[in-house]
Amino acid sequence: MDYMTLIQLLDSTVRLATPLLLACLAGLFSERAGIFDIGLDGKMLAAAFFSAAIAAMSGNVWLGLLAGIAASLALSLLHGLASITFRGNQLISGVAINFLAAGLTVLIAQDWFQQGGRTPSLIGGARFNPITLPFADTIEPMPIIGPLYAELISGHSILVYAAFAAVPLTWWLLYRTRFGLRLRAVGENPAAVDTAGVSVIGLRYAAVCICGVLCGIAGAYLSTALQAGFIKDMSAGRGYIALAALIFAKWRPWYALWATLLFGLFGALETRPDVIEALIGIKVQGQLLGALPYVMTVIILAGFVGKAIPPRAGGEPYVKER
């Protein structure tokens, strides 16, 4: 495998890891506050549709992004209503949200565009276009560093850079601010937070809303940056891979970055069977490679390679003592 192939492979790794990373951080906020969220996939899907639809109609991708975030946020609030206010089962609520998004996006897409559940292809300003970083053209002819900078680091859409910037930001918010301390506490021991006079319900809603915004960006990235338009079921289970990455990362932001990059690499390799064959000498089936993130997550969950312990109060609605 030559250097250029490696750069190309890593380049598509970054592209494929971005939506996973955003969704993984989204799940991290929610689950760290004690709200399980298996509705990440549905929220991404809803956001992907609404951002592509509004971008197609207005020609402005930023309006699309806002619409996507709004759609994802609406589903987040529904999840909050069911699991925080009405103390329902968070897992069942997540399942419902996934189906709601899968059905409604096609229904509305068919009503608005009559193209069999897809949006028109996005062109020009209706998409997030690649950004060329400064000096990319000057550095490009240089050996080793040139392609690395021009191909791998430069030339992504702004959402990719935003996703990578979200990692230190999440870390700082969770571990260096009062809000982060309270948010983590509410996922471990909500009664203690309540005793300290801080609203458990308020904190959990805040976490669920942050989750909604991040999922919204992830969805918008799918339809307006990675691809040019919405197609039916385009999230393709990425929400579940993000969930797997979250467990893999043991609910920590920096590990989330590495986990999603690893899963992104699997995705990139899936499209390049020739590379794998050259690398390890055996022909590996794409289908089996696609299942690797799930298998690895099960192994991690089983505690054979380092135990993943979820936030203690996760999944349980908080009932105030009387």
């Binding site: 298996i38 529904l78 209503l81 069911a82 699991s83 009405f86 103390r87 329902g88 089962n89 968070q90 897992l91 069942i92 609520s93 399942v95 419902a96 949200i97 996934n98 189906f99 709601l100 899968a102 059905g103 409604l104 096609v106 229904l107 509305i108 068919q110 009503d111 009559q114 559940g117 289970g237 579940y240 969930l243 797997a244 467990i247 089936q285 289908q287 089996l288 696609g290 299942a291 799930y294 298998v295 997550t297 099960v298 969950l301 089983a302 505690g303 979820p310």
Partner: protein
């Protein structure tokens, strides 16, 4: 102390949830510029207006009975098995192996053999997450989700690389031999003079599904094991104190659950397609969640809910055929049913409890029996 009388708990709460889901579905249909009344009429004539429609409705209902029971038995042990889809896929593999590689002399023997294989494969696929939950404490919801994806990948691999007949491009097995052909409802009802549609796929598996409903009712409410499963589901600590092993109950409940999901394959793989194709389950494993929630995890409730979803499925297919409403409408209805009967249960329950409490306080100032 129960705040509500039993009939309100069993009938009123699910009914109100269902009405709420129906109202919202009607609003969705209105929202996309179609007439909900006309849509319902078309669904009723399409799904129930002919023996052809009934044949499809009952065919889908058979699938949903199996997957609904699968989710229900796990619910009784307070386990959420989202893996019905993957377990049903593996059940399909078991059916395909049984039908293709064993020379059955008669369909009745083939049905017994295929059912056993389907149950075995489904149970095995559920046993791994169950073991990991019971022994290693890995969350069963996450592992069963992961196992759905792994099952899809494994099946894809096996169909493409191993079981696909030579020269065929289709990722599917060869057609099953004629001896394994199950009698359809047309064949079963013809001797007693009922002329049932020949084209509809409903078959003898329906009777197996009904038998499974009865079996599960007996198991849950009339056996010691069922009592242990329910006790474990109500309170793990109390069950432990009573000498019930959590590991044993988790394993048994999940193995039965997986076996039921796997058995769905005798309907869709052996009864209808007569070969194993990719994505044979078509999401029936997930509809089982809605069916179990709506049926309140009671086998009779599951039976009714499965028929309702069979109707919705067939009606939705007719809608997609004759109007511009896409099939995905059914997914939305399914989501709303899960939302209202599952996640937003307390939204319906809390005000109802207040009303019943008010009635009781008005009728009996002293402590008394719950007002009927």
């Amino acid at each position: 102390m129960d705040v509500m009388p039993k009939w309100a708990e069993v009938v009123l709460v699910p009914l109100i949830s269902l009405v709420l889901a129906a109202i919202l579905s009607a609003l969705v249909i209105l929202g996309i510029g179609e007439d909900p009344v006309a849509a319902v009429k078309l669904m009723v004539t399409g799904a129930l207006g002919s023996t052809y429609g009934w044949g499809y409705t009952l065919y889908y209902a058979t699938n949903f009975m199996f997957t609904g029971l699968c989710v229900s038995i796990a619910f009784h042990a307070r386990l959420f098995n989202i893996g019905g889809e993957g377990q049903a896929m593996l059940g399909g593999l078991g059916v395909a192996l049984a039908c293709l590689y064993i020379p059955w002399p008669h369909w009745s023997l083939a049905l017994i053999g295929a059912t056993a294989m389907a149950a075995l494969f489904g149970a095995a696929w559920a046993a791994i997450p169950a073991f990991l939950q019971a022994k290693r404490g890995s969350h069963i919801v996450i592992t069963t989700i992961m196992f759905n994806f792994i099952a899809a990948a494994v099946l894809n691999y096996i169909l493409v690389n191993m079981m696909r007949p030579k020269g065929s491009m289709d990722p599917a097995t060869a057609r099953f031999p004629d001896a394994t052909k199950l009698p359809t409802l047309h064949d079963l009802l013809a001797p007693i003079g009922i002329n049932f549609s020949k084209a509809a796929p409903a078959n003898i598996s329906l009777l197996v599904a009904v038998a499974a409903c009865i079996f599960l009712w007996v198991l849950i409410w009339r056996t010691r094991l069922g009592y242990e499963i329910r006790a474990y589901g109500q309170s793990e600590s109390a069950a432990k104190y009573a000498g019930i092993s959590p590991v044993k109950i988790t394993m048994i409940a999940m193995v039965i659950s997986g076996a039921l999901a796997g058995m769905m394959a005798i309907n869709n793989v052996m009864g209808e397609a007569e070969r194993l194709v990719l994505n044979a389950t078509e999401g029936a494993g997930f509809i089982g969640i809605a069916v179990a929630l709506m049926g309140r995890s009671h086998p009779f409730g599951v039976f009714l809910a499965a028929i309702l979803f069979g109707f919705l499925y067939q009606g939705g297919a007719e809608l997609a055929l004759w109007t511009s409403i896409p099939r995905e409408l059914i997914v939305v209805i399914q989501a709303l049913v899960i939302l209202f009967t599952g996640a937003l249960d307390n939204m319906v329950r809390m005000p109802l409890e207040k009303i019943f409490l008010g009635i009781r306080n008005a009728r009996a100032p002293k402590p008394a029996e719950p007002a009927e």
